[in-house]
């Protein structure tokens, strides 16, 4: 009985245990890992991708995927810069132009995501393909509006959104925690969240239970795209420019964090809390490898092996249940 309990507990918290183990190894092996400055640095680095990862968790639980989040980050940054320039050229002061541009980017992100969801349910095109298409459309659009060069139009105070601190904590980290809490509540304590699980678990049963599955899919796709736009704005604030080359390949890290966190690619199962662990795990691993002076080429290999092992652990766990 006791043994059974310990076994189940271990199985359910396997990623937490591995994370603690990783931290212990790094604490002894990597100099400077456990310094406040380094940990805050890790926190800032994981925040942007983490925000998107929470949205991606919802998408994957609903049985879909979004490959366009990386390019959406770049596009949102460029669009914000472009619109700021455009509006201030019209004579608007930056104090008004910049928030308007940010709002426009967020709205467009939401709209693009909603359109993805609509195409998904109306025409039955897999989101894998739709968002693959968006990936190149958005990258291309970012390059078009910037002309290939970073747009540096932002005023000094804008940097706060990416590089600022509140009570010593990086601003993106605060947004990261906020998005975590909100999505956690949304998925666990609202009928919307519960419907997302039901739709991902068995779309036909959900439909026949009178759940509006069309609405659910559209909103979920819109949410992740909107969060990607939010991350894009903060990223552009951190680097103080809108550049088409930012966030290239982020979709891989974001999806990897979600999978490391135990969310099933089959849909219907997963936890926002798991993704939190996944995001931290990946962030610390990358940081640790950098501190240990492991080459970036090796880092790529390790990341890939990690994704594969996480999926295998999940499959084995599900099978043995």
């Amino acid at each position: 009985m006791m043994r059974q309990r310990v076994l189940t507990w271990t199985r359910n918290s396997i990623m937490e245990l591995v994370l603690i183990l990783l931290c212990l190894i790094l604490a002894f092996q990597a100099e400077g890992f456990f310094s406040m400055a380094n940990l805050l640095n890790v926190l800032r680095n994981i925040s942007m991708q983490g925000i998107i990862a929470f949205g991606m968790t919802m998408v994957i639980i609903s049985g879909e995927i979004d490959l366009s989040v990386g390019s959406a980050v770049a596009f949102a940054g460029c669009l914000t810069a472009y619109l700021t320039q455009f509006l201030s050229n019209l004579g608007l002061p930056l104090v008004t132009a910049l928030p308007l541009a940010m709002l426009a980017s967020l709205s467009l992100g939401f709209a693009i995501g909603a359109l993805t969801g609509l195409i998904r349910v109306r025409f039955g095109v897999p989101t894998f393909i739709i968002t693959l298409a968006w990936m190149t459309v958005l990258t291309g659009s970012a390059e078009l509006i910037t002309g290939g060069f970073p747009l540096t139009v932002f005023p000094e105070w804008y940097n706060f959104f990416g590089g600022g601190y509140v009570l010593g904590i990086p601003f993106p980290a605060i947004v990261f925690v906020l998005v975590f809490v909100l999505t956690q509540i949304l998925m666990d304590y609202t009928s919307f969240g519960r419907s997302v699980y039901a739709v991902g678990g068995n779309i036909e049963a959900a439909r026949l239970s009178g759940i509006n599955v069309v609405r659910i899919k559209i909103l979920v796709m819109a949410a992740v795209a909107c969060l990607a736009a939010l991350a894009g704005i903060m990223q552009s604030a951190q680097i103080m420019s809108g550049a088409a080359t930012t966030a290239r390949g982020w979709e891989l890290d974001v999806i990897a964090s979600v999978i490391i966190g135990g969310t099933s690619l089959m849909g219907g199962e997963g936890k926002i809390r798991g993704t939190l662990i996944g995001v931290i795990f990946l962030g610390i691993l990358v940081n640790g490898m950098t501190l240990l002076n492991i080459s970036e080429y090796w880092q790529h290999v390790v990341r890939g092996v990690l994704i594969l092992s996480a999926v295998l652990i999940n499959r084995i766990n599900t099978a043995s249940r």
Partner: protein
């Protein structure tokens, strides 16, 4: 000498006995019908003979020699070929490739010898006297032609036994005739044909001999030429005990649900029905009579072409599961495993699936509020569970069905549509489901009950509509008919 024999076959599942000491023999050159109502054990026996299911006890003999059938390919290699209701063809490949799937003739190395392949496929079809162009893709063929290809695929290995599972369920009258011709041809070449069907008239035309299974028992084998339909029905259904319906169930006058002139091409035509307050309305009909499609269309789960639906006197403009739920209509689907439940989720979340918005306050749900609903339904339906956090997939069929019903009861509906709620569940759970329907009737709810079990309809319903080929052909009162009478009415053409 039997080509294929089943000797003292037992098959036990947790909680039920699917086959109980069944012994049978199949001779070459004859068409053997295997019949029985739903749950009689037909499909279990077919699966065992086809090697896809292992019996708990007993042995299979081929040409008198005991053989272990460990897999479908084992059975196939012993000369036992099976054509299932769901065809297993690759639509994009040609007729010839499908017939020779996995066994394409090769010339040196990996290269396919197309000339030989087409010739071989052609030869098989000619042997069956079927005319089909072997180079065309299977996807473009009619269902009947695809079935011919499937049979050709089975026949290309010269099997000594051919099993056909409900082969005519999707065929037109004309297509059925050409299938019968083919079956006769094959029987004449000495193949033992095992023909599974529930269409009694058909068996008169095609079968030499019929074996009847009932509740997992082999209750009799009769020569078709020497028997009457009455006798077969008696064997299939046994002594039907008609249980009494409680006497205090009264249907009111107020119509809850009115369906007018509802039609859907190829499925059902000009359906008119009215469900009253407190009424339990049965719909009887054979498989494929359109009863399930009708029920699903009323709930908005499937489309219809024309007609109208009124709930509580109000015409429903856009019929969808979501709007019907709003209007107080509930629906328990026939395929509860795939359509009614999210198998990997807990009993708790499955019991709160449909009523989610009612449980939530301003969109927020708490465990405590869910637990109230869960406890109420678990008690009301006496669902046997250790813990409501268990996955629903761990429950028996009867308890799963109760979860489906409970899921809908928590929406506090006015009308419930039950599609085959008793399929594959034990006797006690069945009686509990009936008890629920009667209780609902006392509370003034209206129920539509679709079932292929006529005794159940007679026991539970106030009134029964009979469907044949997509039309309501008659209406009977349980007091005015017998189970046999009702079966005959459902089957008559």
């Amino acid at each position: 000498m039997y080509k294929l024999e089943a000797i003292h076959i037992h098959k036990k599942y947790p909680g039920t006995i699917a086959l109980d000491d069944v012994s049978l023999g199949f001779e070459g050159g004859k068409v053997h019908a295997l019949i029985g109502k739903n749950g009689a054990g037909k499909s279990t026996l077919v699966k065992i003979l086809a090697g896809s299911l292992a019996p708990t006890r007993g042995e299979i003999r081929v040409d008198g020699i005991p053989v272990p059938l460990r897999s479908p390919s084992d059975a196939f290699n012993r000369g036992i070929a099976t054509v299932y209701q769901e065809l297993s063809l690759v639509p994009g490949l040609s007729v010839a490739e499908n017939i020779l799937l996995g066994r394409m003739p090769k010339r040196r190395g990996p290269f396919i010898d197309w000339v030989a392949a087409y010739a071989q496929a052609e030869q098989t079809l000619v042997g069956m006297q079927v005319q089909l162009e072997v180079r065309q893709p299977v996807g473009g063929l009619s269902f009947a032609q695809q079935q011919m290809v499937e049979i050709a695929k089975a026949m290309s290995c010269n099997p000594s036994v051919l099993m056909l599972d409900e082969p005519t369920s999707a065929l037109s009258r004309h297509e059925t005739q050409s299938l019968f011709y083919l079956v006769r041809q094959l029987a004449n070449t000495g193949v033992a044909i095992i023909y599974i069907s529930h269409r009694l008239q058909e068996l008169r035309e095609i079968a030499d001999r019929a074996t009847v299974l009932r509740d997992g028992l082999h209750v009799g084998t009769v020569e078709m030429a020497e028997t009457t339909s009455q006798e077969i029905i008696h064997l299939m259904f046994g002594e039907t005990v008609q249980r009494e319906r409680p006497t205090d169930l009264l249907a009111g006058r107020e119509p809850l649900l009115e369906v007018r002139d509802l039609s859907r091409e190829d499925h059902f035509q000009e359906i008119d029905l009215t469900l009253h307050e407190g009424e339990i309305l049965g719909i009887a009909g054979m498989l494929g009579s359109g009863r399930t499609e009708l029920l699903r269309a009323i709930f908005g789960a499937e489309p219809f072409d024309r007609g109208q639906i009124r709930v509580l006197g109000q015409r429903v403009r856009s019929v969808s599961p979501a709007t019907m739920k709003e209007l107080g209509v509930a629906f328990t689907p026939e395929d509860r495993k795939n359509d009614g439940l999210v198998q990997s989720h807990s009993i708790r979340s499955n019991l709160c699936l449909a009523s989610m918005n009612q449980i939530a306050t301003r969109g927020f749900i708490t465990r405590a509020r869910e637990q109230v609903v869960v406890n109420e339904q678990v008690r009301r339906l006496s669902i046997k569970i250790a813990d409501s956090e268990q996955a629903v997939s761990s429950l028996s069929g009867g308890n799963q069905q109760k979860v489906v019903v409970g899921n809908w009861l928590s929406t506090r509906p006015r009308i419930i549509l039950f599609d085959e709620p008793t399929r594959g569940i034990d006797v006690q759970a069945k009686q509990q489901i009936f008890q629920v329907m009667w209780d609902l009737s006392r509370e003034g709810l209206g129920c539509i009950f679709v079932s292929s079990e006529v005794e159940e309809l007679l026991q539970v319903c106030h009134r029964i509509l009979i469907m044949q080929h997509g039309k309501i052909v008659d209406e009977v009162l349980p007091s005015a008919t017998t189970p046999e009478g009702l079966i005959v009415q459902c089957m008559e053409d």
